[in-house]
Structures are given as structure tokens and as C-alpha cells.
Subunit: 312 residues, 2 copies
């Protein structure tokens, strides 16, 4: 990660939606010296007050207009379902030439919305693939993006000002410790459907199925969760509204990878029913190599059990 | 956890199958002073040598007979598929009155096998709900069972010697830091199907589905795995043979909970297809409460992202 030089420093950054990602970016930018002042805006007065109180932002004015005034950098970090409306408002009210970065987990819907908004501000759709199961301004921390990938899916604009804006967005992500990949938005939505959206859907499904099981008490599920179940509850504890919006806005790609998943599951179900040991062992043998690759790429800690064991 | 007094101390413990669980139990028993000597036996000469070399056991004789000779405590910690045969051999060759504890993740199949073996030794079927995704004697550690539950599913014997054996098995688990629950084996197999077997099946399925996706490269799956996928690769990296045996031996319960899971998944699939925001948000809102309960019960660390984040 590189500190930004004074000439690169933004004079004012406005974070619209000060949750986990917005507040982490604010903290990361402050640590990197990326902006002289950082303000936050959130629809909820309570969140605005908390964002200031926990030190994520310098101030949180009560109106979007005030937050945007004089901002040469705008981060839109609301749930995906609100992005089209927020981007339209930002495009109408932000200063001329402002760099506007959104951080939504789905990019097709954002690219579509942003494309219709004209070129007075420069909207660069981004997705930092990082997060935790917690939410709210207090949950953010400056190193959230360290060694994580941020994907940029640029609009179909080739004017110099826009290309410059994309370069500046990439530099900002690198300043907060991320690596940058530029990608077509459709491919993004498919790649993230398998690496993020489907895992969340499955985790939510498992928790729902366990909750509905009348033959096994919740107290037992809690007690014996160390058998594997507890792993799934981490992402199943993620923000319900954020994830509702992800699925509503990435329908096609999610249904496509879900189809693949249910095919594979049917294969294993059949193998269990018919006692097909060979198929089970073959499929089960694929996990280790992929995990090793993820550890080798620095995307996971190289410790058993996520390091959660007490080793006396 | 309580240290065992000298009068409770076993004179020789034999660990049959020195993998993650067997070697962890050996180490935990040594730390608790539970046995004067601890020997290991494994079908593979290589594993026997490694079990001694890494300090898990004091010795690893080349035959089962030698390992069992003089042992008043026998731990059977092989994959579930081998248990019936190993228990039969142990029942034939172990010293009269030895306490024999198996640690298999499925109990119906073990109880069935053990019931037919007569009462010369006392077989107490157990399942410590603990583990990591690693395997082999080097993967074990003494504190693996701390604050985890060990479930005992006793045979249908009510003679005093057997009831005493069950009490001694419970004391042994407590000595290595576990809490003990006594349960019917059928209920065990259903409760573990939802808390452990199904989560593993789903994780293996997801990794298989991702591996098969020709439109998203493995390198991309690795890069963006922090979006959620990496969580699943932990348990998908578990021992394939052990898990093959679990599914072959707990068919009915796994197919039952799998049916519940696919029903719930179909509900969510339909909600995504039809844009049913309300259903999605409702199901997604159930995760947090269950995770909080698991954390409160001491079955999970109270830190975001399993504590794997670097916080500078």
C-alpha cells in the first residue's frame, strides 16, 4: 500500500452510507492520507451521529447536499438496492468533475443505472471483495481491504477525463491496501455469484433449515455447532438488507450458479442413497487443493480451524 | 477439566488409529495424567512411525495384539467404515474388562456392530464433537476437546460393570476438557446430520460446483474467495475417507435433513426468481440470533471474520 502524495490528496471525501464498508474506507483513507477532510452522510440520523462518535468520519451533515458540497471524491456505500436512486441524486448535486465510486457487490445493475446519468461527474463502479459479518459504522476498520481485491467495472466511456477517473479510483484502492482488477461487469456478476453470493445463499438456507427442524432443538444445534455448522453462521449473520438487495439485483447469475450447485448436490445425494463410495471420495478429494491455493494466494490464514482454537 | 487421581489412572491406553482425533486424545490424556503409558496402533507403518516421532504416543507396536496387550483402555479412532471390523478384533483380543471407547461421528452403525460383540470388554460408543480440517498424527493437539461436547450413546446394557464403564468414559472426556451428554444413538445421528454432516456435504458440493464452472477460472475463485467462498473450503478440506464413511453410514438421517435443506433452498430460489424481497429479508434475518447463541455458549469466538483479519 502506498501513501498518497499531497498532490493526489482529495480536498473533501463524502461517504454516502456509513456502514461497514463506508466506515472502513473512511478509516483506510485517513490512514493513507487520501483526503483532507472526510464527511459521512446516511439516511438515518442515528447512524450519522454514531459515525462521527466512533471516529469514522470528521463530520456528518444532516443533508446530502451539504455532504456533497465541495467534495471532489464521493463514495457511495449504500445497499445495492438504493444505488440507482442515490447515484442519480449524487450525479445531479455533486460538484462538476467529482470522482464518484460505488462499492456495490453487484455491478450490472449499477453500470446500467450509472450509464444513463451523463458525464458531469465520473462514476467508477467498484467492488472491494472484503467484509465481515458485522455492520454499522463501528464495525469498520482501516485494514479491511489489505490484501483483498477490489474489482473495477468501468462504464463504456473512453474520454480522457473518464479514463483518468478510473486510474484515480485504482490508486485509491491501492492506497487503502487493496489490489485492483479491471473487469467487465457481466463477468464480475458471475464470478461473484459463485465466490460470494451463492455461499451466502447456502449459509442462509442451512440456518433456516436448522431453525425449522422440530426434531432437533436449537440448544442442541448450538451445542454441537463445532461439528461444522458454526462456520456457516458467520456469513449467515451478515446484514439481511444488503444481501436481499444483492439477490434481487443479480438474479440471472445467481440462478445460473445455483443450478450448478443443485446438480452437484443431486449427484452426491444419489451417491449417498446408493452407497456409491467412489463418487463420494472423488468429489470430497477436491477440497484440499483449492483451499491450499487460497491460502497460498494470501486470501486465508494458514492455521487450522481459522485459528479459533485455544491452544494451551 | 479435572486431573485424574492416581486411582483413576489407566495403566495402559491403546489408541487404534492415530489421526487427528486419536492423537489429540493421546495428548489430552497425557496432559491430564490419565494413563501411565499410551501406545498407538495404525494400519499404516508410516503413520505409526510418525505418531511416535511427533510425540503423540509413547510407542507404536507393529501389531494390534501387541498394542492391546495389557491395555485397560482402548480408544478406537479409525474412520467409521472400519469400526465394525476393528471393534470385533478388539473385542476378541483385548484384555478382559477393558474399557473400549470409539469416537466415530456416526453412532447407529457402531452401536449395531458393538451390540453383537458380547460383554467381555465394555464398549462405550462416544462422539467428541470437535476437530479441524487437518488430519494425521501431527495435526492433533491436547486442547482440541476443551469446551466441546462429547456425546455418549451407551449400548442397551444395564449390568453394573457396563454402567461403571459409561461413568469412566464420561470421566475421561471431562479429564480432557470436554462436557458430556448422554443420548440415544438415533437422536445423535439426526442431530449431527444437521450440525455436522449436512454442512460438510454442502461445503464439498459448493467446492465441486465451483471447480466445474468453466466460465469462471480457478484463479478468480481463489482471488475473490474472501467474498464468502473461503469459509466453505475449510471444512471441504477435511479428510475425504473419513467423510465418505460418515455419509455411507448415516444415510437415512442425512437424506432426511438434506430434504429439508433443498426445500428451503427451493423457497429462496423462487423468491429470487420472482423478486420476493420480503421472503428473502425474512429468511436472512434468522442468522444473527443463532450465531449470537453459539457465541454465547462458548462454541465460537466473539470476533468478526473468525479473527482472521489483520488489524494494524
Amino acid at each position: 500500500m502506498t501513501n498518497m502524495t499531497d498532490t493526489d490528496m482529495y480536498s473533501k471525501a463524502a461517504i454516502i452510507g456509513v456502514g461497514l464498508i463506508g466506515s472502513s474506507l473512511a478509516r483506510g483513507m485517513r490512514a493513507a492520507g487520501a483526503a483532507k477532510s472526510i464527511v459521512g452522510y446516511d439516511l438515518q440520523a442515528d447512524v450519522r451521529a454514531r459515525a462521527v462518535k466512533c471516529g469514522a468520519v470528521d463530520a456528518a451533515p444532516p443533508t446530502l447536499e451539504e455532504a456533497l458540497k465541495g467534495a471532489d471524491l464521493v463514495i457511495v456505500s449504500t445497499p445495492v438496492g438504493a444505488m440507482a436512486a442515490v447515484l442519480a441524486e449524487v450525479a445531479a448535486k455533486a460538484d462538476d468533475g467529482a470522482l464518484v465510486i460505488d462499492v456495490g457487490s453487484v455491478k450490472g445493475a449499477v453500470v446500467e443505472a450509472a450509464t444513463s446519468l451523463g458525464g458531469r461527474v465520473h462514476i467508477v463502479p467498484c467492488h472491494p471483495v472484503a467484509g465481515t459479518e458485522q455492520s454499522g459504522p463501528e464495525a469498520g476498520f482501516a485494514t479491511l481491504f489489505h490484501h483483498r481485491w477490489s474489482i473495477i467495472t468501468p462504464l463504456a466511456r473512453s474520454d480522457g477525463a473518464y479514463l483518468e477517473a478510473v486510474k484515480k479510483a485504482a490508486a485509491l484502492w491501492r492506497a487503502v491496501g487493496a489490489e485492483v482488477e479491471i473487469m467487465d461487469h457481466l463477468h464480475h456478476d458471475l464470478a461473484l455469484a459463485i465466490t460470494s453470493h451463492l455461499p451466502h445463499l447456502i449459509a442462509f438456507t442451512l440456518v433456516g433449515a436448522a431453525d425449522d427442524l422440530e426434531s432437533v432443538a436449537e440448544a442442541e444445534i448450538v451445542k454441537y455447532s463445532a461439528g461444522g455448522f458454526r462456520d456457516f453462521t458467520r456469513i449467515a449473520a451478515s446484514d439481511p438488507v444488503m444481501w436481499r438487495d444483492v439477490f434481487l439485483n443479480n438474479k440471472a447469475a445467481v440462478l445460473e450458479v445455483l443450478g450448478r450447485f443443485t446438480e452437484e448436490l443431486a449427484l452426491l445425494q444419489r451417491a449417498i442413497r446408493w452407497g456409491d463410495a467412489e463418487t463420494l471420495e472423488k468429489v470430497f478429494s477436491r477440497g484440499r487443493a483449492l483451499r491450499r491455493a487460497i491460502v497460498a494466494a494470501g486470501q486465508e490464514k494458514d492455521v487450522p480451524n481459522f485459528g479459533r482454537d485455544e491452544k494451551a
